[in-house]
């Protein structure tokens, strides 16, 4: 049977992690269908139909799908579930909120946050903040799986021409109402997909000092991350949090500044290709995962770092 992937989008564009989830989903089974639930999201359906890995797009257009109300989404997905062996989505706040609701109604034990597809019923997933990897086999007939997007490359976006079929909406829930979304707009790359991430921790001391980080982020075209301590202290907004309960990032370069390296933070960044730690405490646990450690006062090191970068003739973007 085929796999049904639930697309994440903003009604205009496909959200980037959907492409990573497509890669994983098509490793489970090549007959991959994508469900687009949205309001006036024709462009989203069209974009997904052009992904070579996608064999069919099912598009449901209704204003009740303008926002991600899990109750409304679930009712629509259940209507289609019968024809599929697997229902999958990305394991970000979108999929984490949605998939268990679907799984419970299908009486399926969900497999969360997989980092590898071993076979169509067996998967690798991190547990205990990534301090152990579990190989698990699902014995449910129908499987609900969420995919850690940063563990899979994004699928090619063009060259395909899947059929788009329209389908009817399901009933809307009357007990949940969307009020507002406070989205932080930024010209910088998205934290989850950036090639370079520079993060600040409690050592930054206040929100103003994050300017030292943003100046370097501008220079490197990097995304800005933060430890939970920095977010809790109000230095920076929650969408920047990297860690077990925040975002998991796997950039080519991760620069941790003034971050001690609690287990919960390491869970969100230790798979990065190259890790740099700048911390004045030479014993900080962050150094145990760093490829390059600099024991220094960040208030001296960051301006120097910027001026050294300015001296370089070329910087990869």
């Amino acid at each position: 049977m085929s796999v049904l992937l639930i697309a994440e989008h903003n009604n205009k564009e496909v959200r980037p992690f959907t492409y990573n989830a497509i890669t994983a989903a098509s490793q489970i089974n090549e007959d991959l269908h994508v469900l687009v639930l949205g309001h006036q999201a024709d462009d989203v359906a069209k974009s997904l139909s052009e992904v070579p890995n996608v064999k069919k797009v099912i598009h449901v257009d209704n204003e009740i799908y303008e926002n991600y109300i899990a109750e409304n989404y679930t009712a629509a997905i259940i209507k289609h579930a019968e024809s599929y062996s697997h229902i999958v989505s990305s394991a970000n706040t979108f999929g984490k909120n949605l998939m268990p609701r679907i799984a419970a109604l299908l009486d399926t034990s969900q497999v969360s946050d997989i980092i590898k597809v071993i076979s169509e019923d067996t998967f690798l997933r991190p547990i205990y903040a990534g301090n152990a990897f579990a190989t698990v086999k699902s014995n449910d007939k129908k499987k609900c799986v969420t995919i850690r997007p940063t563990s899979f490359d994004p699928a090619d976006k063009s060259g395909g021409s899947a059929e788009i079929t329209k389908s009817d909406p399901a009933e809307a829930s009357s007990s949940t109402k969307f009020l507002k979304k406070e989205e932080v707009k930024s010209d910088r790359p998205e934290l989850g997909t950036a090639r370079i991430v520079i993060s600040g921790g409690r050592g930054m001391q206040n929100g103003e000092n994050f300017k030292l980080i943003s100046d370097i982020a501008d220079k490197l075209n990097a995304a800005i991350g933060a430890s939970r301590a920095a977010v809790d202290a109000g230095y920076i907004t929650n969408d920047h949090q990297v860690g077990q309960t925040g975002k998991v990032v796997v950039p080519d370069l991760y620069i941790a500044v003034g971050i001690s390296g609690a287990i919960q933070h390491l869970a969100g960044m230790k798979e990065s290709k190259v890790i740099v730690a700048i911390n004045k405490d030479g014993e900080a646990p962050i150094f145990s995962v760093a490829d390059y450690g600099l024991e220094a006062d960040l208030f001296e090191a960051l301006p120097q770092f910027l001026s050294e970068l300015n001296k370089l003739n070329t910087i990869q973007k």
Binding site: Q110, I127, Y128, A132, D140, T176, L312
Partner: protein, 249 residues
């Protein structure tokens, strides 16, 4: 209003996890155990709502082995009124947990069910949403702010893009984020008083739900180790290494 709060006993968040050599799981013997951190936020929020005069009773529930009772006792010490301990002998999956919780909800008739958004042991992030589905109740996950009005909750949720605010009708399930509040510590007199608060004990097998595992854990292994890095002496050296050795800038 009556609030049911679900708490789970897990390996303490500060403990360095060790994988068993035979690949059957992680070492739990002689390891410090605590309440799952965001479950502490769930209890705290319930207590604050009660203190504000908007809830009459808080019932704390845990599902687990004999010692899991400690987490209920702790919840009682910070303000829950009574406890329920559903005994199970083995680790059960979130689907089974939500089926047990559904039975308890049907018996207790709470207006709200709170719990942490995720347990830090299996990192599943499923139980609240599953319970909401089984009860056909609305769900407000990853809550960082809750306002209680007449039979309606306004909940601010932490999502990838920032914050989202939704309104859910009561009865509802809320899963709590770590930023929802600052959990209080139990005072010694309250710990003593908590010892007298009742904890009802039930056996999962008496509840008539299927809690058999659906997922086989084939093996548990250590993640690949990073190779040791080096310390650099200066910012200049760091930038040169990143440029010429790691070739990432």
């Amino acid at each position: 209003m009556k609030i049911l709060v679900a708490v789970k006993r897990v390996i303490d968040y500060n403990v360095q996890i060790r994988v068993k050599e035979d690949g059957s799981g992680v070492v739990t013997d002689n390891v410090k155990m605590s309440t799952n951190p965001p479950d502490d936020n769930a209890i705290e929020e319930a207590v604050k709502i009660k203190e504000a005069g908007k809830a009459k009773e808080i019932v704390a529930i845990t599902i687990g082995e004999e010692k899991a009772q400690e987490t209920v006792r702790k919840a009682l010490a910070v303000g829950a009124d009574r406890g329920i301990h559903v005994k199970v002998d083995n680790v059960i999956e979130p689907l089974a947990v939500s089926k047990i919780l559904k039975k308890i909800v049907e018996k207790e008739n709470p207006d709200l069910v709170f719990m942490g958004k995720q347990a830090i042991d299996d990192d599943c992030n499923q139980t609240g949403q599953m319970l909401a589905a089984l009860l056909n109740w609305p769900q407000a996950t990853f809550a960082s702010k809750i306002e209680v009005r007449d039979n309606v909750l306004e909940v601010t949720r932490e999502i990838d893009e920032g914050l989202e605010t939704i309104e859910v009708n009561v009865p509802a399930i809320v899963t709590c984020d770590l930023r929802l509040n600052e959990p209080r510590y139990a005072s010694l007199p309250n710990i003593m008083k908590a010892k007298k608060k009742p904890i009802e004990q039930l056996n999962a097998s008496d509840l008539g739900v299927d809690i058999n595992p659906r997922i086989e854990q084939i093996k548990v292994e250590e993640p690949p180790k990073r190779k040791a890095g080096i310390k650099v002496a200066s910012v200049e050296e760091l930038v040169q290494k990143l440029k010429n050795e790691a070739k990432v800038i």
